[in-house]
Symmetry: C2
Subunit: 172 residues, 2 copies
Amino acid sequence: MTPPLESYIRNIPDFPIPGIQFKDITTLLRDGPALQQAINVFIERYRHQRINAVVAIESRGFIFGAPLAYALGIGLVPVRKVGKLPADTYKLEYALEYGTATLEIHKDAFAPGARVVVIDDLLATGGTIAAACALAETAGATVVEAAFLIELSFLAGREKLGQRQIYSQITY
Amino acid sequence: MTPPLESYIRNIPDFPIPGIQFKDITTLLRDGPALQQAINVFIERYRHQRINAVVAIESRGFIFGAPLAYALGIGLVPVRKVGKLPADTYKLEYALEYGTATLEIHKDAFAPGARVVVIDDLLATGGTIAAACALAETAGATVVEAAFLIELSFLAGREKLGQRQIYSQITY
């Protein structure tokens, strides 16, 4: 029996800036059984939902999205920071606490009618996942759910996702 | 029978700068069977080599390293760009064509005696993988092999890796 996944997450005070309690997942990732458990939870959740692709947000979303896509035998579509994707893209700029960020997705990422899960490691203020979901929808996909290992519920990121379904394994 | 993996890779001329033929793997990633095939090749290669962890280089190395670690039931250790890892790290600066880059690994990434594979999507000039291998070794690991989906052999990246073992699925 593996201990609860929460016990593998390390709290780092004052990173990256004073006052932030950073949730370090590398202590979970480096443990083989804990990593398998975290990914198996996603696999079991989406195995029977007729998902056609996993949309993973650069870069820690790749860590959970790629094994999920692999295990389900479906494609992986990266949402990346601006300038990284080489073919024609849709771009979306969104607000951060200080300044803005821009994400991109390839215009030809999806087959028609694709049903997708959008995945990242952490739901914080929600700006990144809201932009990624909007990009996937612009590229023609239906977002079945947004999925996270961790949700920081006190930051109310869910409110940015409107009516979309949200799933997180661990909530603080 | 899946077509050869090479047929899923898209060539993008003049990205990110004129004269570069960019190998776009997103057309492979978005195809479920092709993605599975690429990852299965790594799994079969390392299944019986007593590997204890997969070291994956941010960010596209995560796409191949995470499913490999998941399938082998071993840990995943990220090598990341500077400033992303929250605990104590080893840092290594290395030369790029123009300027330098710095990578980091957590000092406590490995259990004693760890045997690891270091993985990235692409071997080009070799500076990034050489730095990642050196970081893993500084943190106490033995690098069994450096693994890539693609190797651009005309850039002679192998020469930067000294006596280390190297494996690539597709060579241009």
